[in-house]
């Protein structure tokens, strides 16, 4: 429906009072000529109230982001199937996916009332994203090895141009990492750049910063750092703006409504409905759970959603006056074992690279028992990859070698010439026992270590001596993602391979691709470091690069499935169980919250469900 047709009329009582007092322009002026009209999920809301969420310690800045929303040029629709305009009023893709034109909203304002225009976008791209002095250009803004070009068509139109087709670009922009073009307000943030402000050194000294970059981060933040929520003065496009900032040592963060927010409901009421987001900071997950039980948290998903907590949370639903909503992962598996196929030890490497060995390990696992024991019966045996009802579903990837068949597994291992030694452990041709360690972070997902213990016993039956090697997370990262010293590692692979998500279990392109870290290095460095991967991987990498450029969804799907087929035939990683929905809690009186929503970082749950339309039912 045409946004322009709608006139903003309603606003929060507090704002109305300020308009009355003359300290704020009228609401219609504030939201601009082209506000986005949003149809609330169930009902038109009423103004007022706080939404309490629970932050966990420091580095939980993305929690705020997920509630407030990335507010990029585009966003995902609530179903996570389609990309819709957001800050941009609409967009056009031309030239086979090389040119993207975004039409901004006339009269749209930053949260301090200053107009938001194409100049802001240019400032963001030219002065920051493409400014190597500030930060290297993220790969998502390059194609064919060259950065994108941005031009201002008019005050409210910008055009992005790429060298090669870049079909995934919109999805990248919709992800929380793709917000760059509209992140900073030029009129405010430019004062921290030496190119705009000759006296920037004074500001640096005044703020005890180390250099202008640090000063800039202190004041304007960046996508994924806490400082983004550390400065109440910084203008944003978000529904709520920082009031009590997220700075080191604080015990709570408060955000209050943005009086210039540019969305209205179908009856012309300016969003958001809820006055404030209040986020006290707890350090320990357990105290978050206590917070939920005690009714101190209105909406919670992050940190509290492992199935193990569900019985306690369920039991206290009445006491805490909340109910559950389902948070569905986009696909994949929540536990996957990566053997290190680029292992530094030639013997183990040789062994791991035998497909029969991996198949045997997979067949040797009794997944159902693991699910029943460790995962409270939730889930079903699964390797990885999207679910059955997903367009990207690839059956072989998901379901091959799932049955528990120790006989066949043993036969395969026998076939590899791994004879059992006197203690029942098989031996490699060099006489060494078949023994390896699986690195795992116990604090990360408690299920992993528990499940590994079962796997350990099950594999022992096969004559494979697996040892669990629990370690602290930075150690883990360093060892498995950087120095490539691991035998094997556990991680999750909750993903469907849609645009924007990295299919790291299909192609070694990410530090979570722990089966082929050396290959990943090769890929990322353009062949300069790391290790040249085998043909199968190279082929997949090539196809992956192609798929990312495609604008036609169907074509992209086909290519991805082609990659999946190759990967499935190689069978490089061993999954355990399907990632089933987890549950978040929401207060019974909080309205317009969907009963289920996708749960993914790229979707930035729950922001595409528009928390700005949530409201408190009056009593």
């Amino acid at each position: 429906l045409p946004a322009v047709a709608q006139e903003a009329t309603g606003q929060a009582p507090s704002l109305a009072a300020m308009v009355e007092a003359g300290s704020l322009p009228p609401v219609a002026e504030r939201v601009g000529e082209e506000p986005e009209v949003v149809e609330p999920l169930n009902a038109i809301g009423t103004y007022g109230g706080d939404l309490r969420i629970g932050l966990r310690g420091s580095s939980d800045h993305n929690h705020i982001l997920r509630v407030v929303g990335p507010q990029g040029l585009v966003r995902w629709d609530p179903q996570y199937t389609e990309i819709v305009p957001n800050v941009a009023e609409r967009f056009e893709v031309e030239d086979g996916g090389r040119v993207f034109t975004f039409y901004l909203r006339d009269g749209m304002k930053w949260s301090d009332g200053e107009p938001f225009t194409a100049d802001d976008v240019l400032f963001n791209i030219d002065d920051l994203v493409l400014n190597e002095e500030f930060a290297p250009t993220p790969p998502r803004y390059t194609s064919g090895g060259e950065p994108m070009q941005v031009e201002k068509v008019d005050d409210y139109t910008v055009r992005f141009t790429f060298k090669e087709p870049y079909g995934d670009f919109l999805a990248e922009l919709a992800s929380p990492l793709g917000q760059h073009p509209v992140l900073y307000a030029k009129h405010y943030c430019s004062q921290f750049l030496p190119t705009y402000n000759d006296n920037v050194d004074e500001l640096i000294a005044k703020n005890e910063a180390t250099d202008w970059q640090n000063l800039f981060l202190q004041k304007c933040g960046d996508l994924e750092i806490p400082a983004r929520w550390g400065n109440p003065e910084r203008p944003t496009l978000d529904p709520w703006v920082i009031k009590e900032p997220y700075v080191g040592g604080t015990t709570r963060v408060v955000l209050e409504r943005n009086p210039y927010f540019w969305q209205i409901d179908t009856e012309g009421n300016q969003l958001p409905y809820i006055d404030q987001i209040v986020a006290p900071i707890d350090q320990d997950v357990e105290s978050l759970i206590l917070g939920v039980i005690g009714g101190r948290i209105d909406f919670g998903l992050r940190h509290i959603d492992p199935p193990a907590n569900r019985p306690v949370l369920a039991e206290n639903r009445e006491k805490g006056d909340y109910h559950f909503f389902a948070a569905e992962p986009p696909g994949g598996s929540n536990m996957i074992i990566n053997l290190n196929l680029t292992h530094k030890d030639p013997d183990l490497r040789e062994l791991f690279n035998r497909k029969d060995f991996r198949v045997a390990l997979s067949l040797g696992m009794d997944r159902q028992e693991i699910i029943d024991t460790v995962m409270l019966g939730e889930g079903e045996p699964w390797q990885h990859g999207p679910f059955e009802d997903h367009p990207y579903y690839h059956e072989q990837t998901a379901k091959q070698f799932l049955e528990h068949d120790p006989e066949q597994a043993n036969a395969l291992l026998d076939g590899l010439g791994l004879e059992r030694g006197p203690d029942g452990v098989r031996q490699m041709p060099n006489g060494e026992p078949v023994r390896f360690q699986v690195d795992v972070i116990p604090t990360f997902d408690p299920v992993w270590v528990d499940a590994l213990q079962l796997v350990e016993q099950q594999w022992a039956e096969l004559g494979v001596d697996m040892e669990i090697n629990p370690m602290e997370r930075t150690f883990f990262y360093e060892r498995t993602s950087n120095s490539n010293d691991h035998d094997a590692a556990v991680w999750n692979a909750k993903q469907s391979w849609v645009a924007g998500q990295i299919p790291q279990m299909l192609v070694p392109v990410h530090h979570d691709s722990r089966y082929g870290i050396a290959w990943r290095d090769w890929y990322l460095s353009g062949g300069e470091s790391g290790e040249e991967p085998p043909a199968s991987i190279k082929e997949r990498l090539r196809l992956y690069d192609e798929a990312r450029g495609m604008t036609d969804p169907e074509e992209r799907r086909k290519t991805m499935l082609e990659i999946a087929q190759i990967a499935a035939d190689e069978f490089e990683v061993i999954g355990v169980a399907k990632a089933i929905p987890t549950y978040g809690i929401v207060k019974n009186d909080l309205m317009n919250v969907p009963e289920k929503m996708p749960s993914s970082w790229y979707y930035a749950t729950p922001s595409p469900t528009l928390p700005q339309t949530w409201f408190w039912k009056d009593e």
């Binding site: 580095s59 993305n62 790969p139 703020n207 806490p226 350090q283 105290s287 602290e472 930075t474 530090h511």
Partner: protein, 327 residues
């Protein structure tokens, strides 16, 4: 005595250097750097970090430089009062630590006072009335306190408070005072909240002090000088307080120096569970995140406290026991 103190203070200077070097080495010892752990943290919540950005930052922060270069860069700044910036918060460390440190010191002081106030009388009681019902009672309670991890105790308390009393005992302030500026009311609020962490933190220390006091006092109770005092007509209470306790307190005094900083650093995990706005969680987070300047500043401060504490306890020791001369 002044010479002694002066000498000790002079000593503290090279000592601080050694401490800072070791502290810095310890902080940087775990593999990886701040950025690795940053990535790990985000991954834990299902967020994914931009890799290219990490590499660029790594270079900017100088993490790829040799250890000593990093160290001298840091310590050079510290000498000029610049503790560096916190990577995590992009804020100068100086802005972050003081208020938290102050709260930590307050909490530690309160705990120390609680511990002493409870442990001394009980310790004396259990020594004088050895094997009485009271002695057994306090011993048992004390050891149960000692055998329960503080943070478990904290969690149970929090659970009981939430489920049975509907109140929240975490933190040091009520919601309305959390970010309020300091005022009398806020101090009152602090006083109303501080006792729970004090009890949690204090129990085990109390138990051990009780036992130590008891043990040492038992050794002194039959000394001839006690009889002398008795013959003067001193009441049993004053007698014990003045003579044997004075000597038995010697080990207390020699622990006071580090009891204090240790309370601060020992409270870390409890403070974490209780979400206290003290330095503990911030330091723990800084350490785990390898936010090295922030962690370094905390460690340096704690070391300073220890050094001062130990100097104080050495002086007290000499004051209280003249047989120990200043050398």
């Amino acid at each position: 005595m002044f010479a002694y103190i002066a000498r000790r203070i002079l000593w503290a200077i090279p000592f601080m250097f050694a401490v800072s070097l070791i502290a810095f080495a310890l902080i940087t010892a775990p593999p990886g750097d701040y950025l690795t752990s940053f990535a790990a943290t985000l991954a834990q919540s299902g967020d994914i970090v931009d890799e290219a950005r990490l590499d660029a930052l790594r270079e900017r922060y100088g993490f790829d430089q040799p250890f000593l270069v990093q160290y001298f860069h840091w310590i050079g700044g510290v000498l000029q009062g610049d503790f560096g910036i916190s990577f995590e918060w992009q804020q100068p460390v100086g802005q972050l630590i003081w208020e938290r440190m102050a709260l930590s010191v307050t909490l530690a002081l309160a705990t120390l006072m609680f511990t002493w106030a409870v442990a001394l009388p009980i310790g004396i009681y259990s020594a004088v009335r050895k094997y009485s019902v009271g002695d057994y009672f306090f011993t048992t309670i004390g050891f149960i306190g000692l055998a329960t991890p503080n943070f478990l105790f904290a969690l149970v308390l929090m659970y009981v408070a939430v489920v049975y009393f509907g109140s929240d005992v975490s933190g040091l302030f009520s919601e309305e005072y959390k970010d309020a500026p300091w005022s009398l009311a806020k101090i009152g609020d602090l006083a109303a909240h501080i006792w729970i962490p004090v009890i949690i933190l204090g129990t085990s220390a109390t138990a051990s002090l009780v036992r130590i006091m008891r043990a040492n006092l038992l050794d002194e109770l039959y000394r001839p000088y006690v009889t002398t005092a008795r013959a003067k007509g001193l009441s049993e209470f004053r007698l014990i307080m003045k003579y044997p306790v004075r000597i038995a307190i010697n080990p207390f005094i020699s622990t006071i120096g580090w009891a204090f900083p240790q309370l601060i650093s020992g409270a870390v995990i409890t403070a974490f569970v209780l979400s206290l706005p003290t330095s503990g969680p911030l330091m723990l987070q800084a350490l785990l995140a390898q936010d090295m300047y922030l962690a370094g500043a905390f460690i340096l401060l704690l070391c300073c406290l220890s050094i001062v504490g130990m100097l104080v306890s050495d002086i007290l020791l000499a004051v209280i026991d003249p047989r120990i001369r200043f050398r």
